[in-house]
Subunit: 330 residues, 2 copies
């Protein structure tokens, strides 16, 4: 594993993208979002995803030159068409617009149709929190999760992000509706480990901690069994209805053709409701009260990211040697 | 078990409440909300909760005469003070106001501080959906759930409700952040049954399906383990910060003194975004696609409620004989 300085990763990616129909600003932003995701330790959705992203540009699923356009305005809500542009650029623009709307209306909602995979959803939570506002966002995905009571996929794992700004460290929850992603299952299997808790069903329909059995059955478990199954369905309903876009059942099963996604971005202004120091004091007290239940083991959502980010900025981003060569050639 | 006509339950409850400081309109509304919850089959939070509700009026935790007041307006967001009035009346008024705000701004948010237990959270989801809007709401609670990594409670089970209107049957998710409520654990134990999936930890710290072991350890499981633990914390942060009210760590451990709760009500207008028939068609297609994964076993959130409601309206509400006598005497 190489350790490559953050700026070098951004430069290499920017150069690779600039040759593919991105203008220079968009290439730099897109590259930075990929690099930041790796820097924050979400390796599955950072630069490791660039080869697939490039393949989806080549197969026409992602249009690198397409920027989102507003198609409907209704005071604090807007609908945007992502025009199948790069998912991370579309999502970034959408949360930025939701933040603007929240400054005017107290709360702002951008519903984005016809977009692409946003890579790490937490990115847009950090974006909102860095802007000092509460952020919520979610996306639908292709069907990769059986509903509770079924053994074939009909739900997306539809990640949900909730972000609360805090000077001592934003509190950012970034969670998919499956207990473990396929990426996580693969990682456990490759190191020969069992999952820490049940992660799905085996071929015989029994709950199992064996990652290989779940990869084979394609039956990962929704969080909370019937509860996460229900929430995944609600997130798809909200994303499609609010954006006027496509729902999970309308996407092909091929991840390389997963395009036209629907997403929702909510921003809520705290700054005009109460002084920033009151918000910080309240959030600090809540975080402290939860950590106090067992300071050695309890973490707040987002806590680990700050540590990983600091380490990766200091040591350089961990990059597989073959991936780095591939990116330099791209 | 008696079967009492819906109208008779409402009349008896209205009479009981009218003697306790409710004006007649508020007594009738409060009674109806309790009766509707029982009618919908959520027996733990319907008229079975009235004795505890009356006890909390008597001990001063609930002020029956107090109506909520608006304390801050910021375009599409308002903060209200529930003045420790009846939780279901406060919540009903708050969702009604959020719906009004959504008509004006596209989206409306009411953050309610200083309120009481709202009984069944799903009530306010049905309220929003019946008004033709998308509704989301959540509440904090006293600490009744250990965070992931700890063995003592420091999180509330903070129910989250998401409601999507649909002519063929609203889709309404009403879920707490614990896999099973204490009421559910008791019900399983009393009929000598094991839980269908792990519901918490036993005294030795092992995951268990034994409801009695979890009642003894007071270690119910958050949905999705670390994920539900994180989401419970976010809901508390959002409720307290947006309302300016109290957080889970500030409530006493005694359920009879659990007052001053914080809640959030969001309503989003669909009607002005697209024709109602488009929304219905899209929602129907999503519901159908999920049920198709296994029509015999998969249900959409809220589906069972409509069946139970119809049956209880036809047969009368199931009421324990002793409870009915107690309500008639109250």
């Amino acid at each position: 594993m190489l350790r490559v300085p953050f700026a070098d990763v951004v430069s290499a990616l920017t150069a690779a993208l600039a040759g593919l129909g991105f203008d220079s600003d968009r290439a730099a932003r897109c590259a930075r979002l990929f690099a930041e995701t790796t820097c924050d330790g979400v390796y599955s959705h950072g630069i490791e995803r660039v080869p697939r992203f490039l393949a989806m540009i080549r197969n026409g699923s992602v249009d690198p030159g397409a920027a989102p356009v507003c198609v409907q305005q209704l005071a604090a809500i807007e609908r945007w068409n992502g025009r199948r542009g790069p998912g991370n650029l579309n999502a970034w623009a959408s949360m930025a617009r939701a933040v603007e709307l929240s400054a005017e209306h107290g709360i702002g909602c951008v519903a984005l149709a016809n977009t692409n995979h946003w890579m790490r959803g937490g990115t847009y939570g950090w974006q909102a929190a860095d802007a000092g506002v509460i952020g919520l966002c979610w996306t639908n995905t292709l069907a990769n999760l059986p509903p509770w009571g079924a053994s074939v996929p009909a739900l997306g794992n539809n990640p949900l992000i909730v972000a609360v700004p805090r000077p001592a460290g934003h509190v950012i929850l970034d969670m998919a509706m499956s207990q473990f992603s396929y990426g996580a299952l693969t990682a456990y299997r490759q190191r020969g480990a069992m999952l820490p808790v049940d992660g799905g069903f085996d071929a015989a329909g029994n709950l199992t901690r064996d990652p290989a059995a779940i990869e084979a059955s394609q039956r990962p478990l929704p969080i909370g069994y019937w509860k996460g199954s229900g929430l995944a369905m609600m997130l798809d309903l909200l994303a499609a209805l609010l954006s006027g876009g496509l729902a999970t059942h309308q996407f092909p099963a091929d991840p390389l053709r997963e395009t036209g996604l629907s997403q929702v971005f909510l921003a809520i202004s705290l700054a005009r409701l109460q002084p920033a120091e009151d918000s910080a004091r309240m959030a600090d007290a809540i975080v402290a009260s939860v950590l106090a239940a067992n300071p050695a083991a309890v973490r707040y959502p987002g806590e680990q990211i700050l540590k990983t980010r600091a380490e990766n900025l200091r040591l350089g981003l961990p990059v597989r040697e073959e991936l780095w060569e591939e990116l330099l050639r791209a």
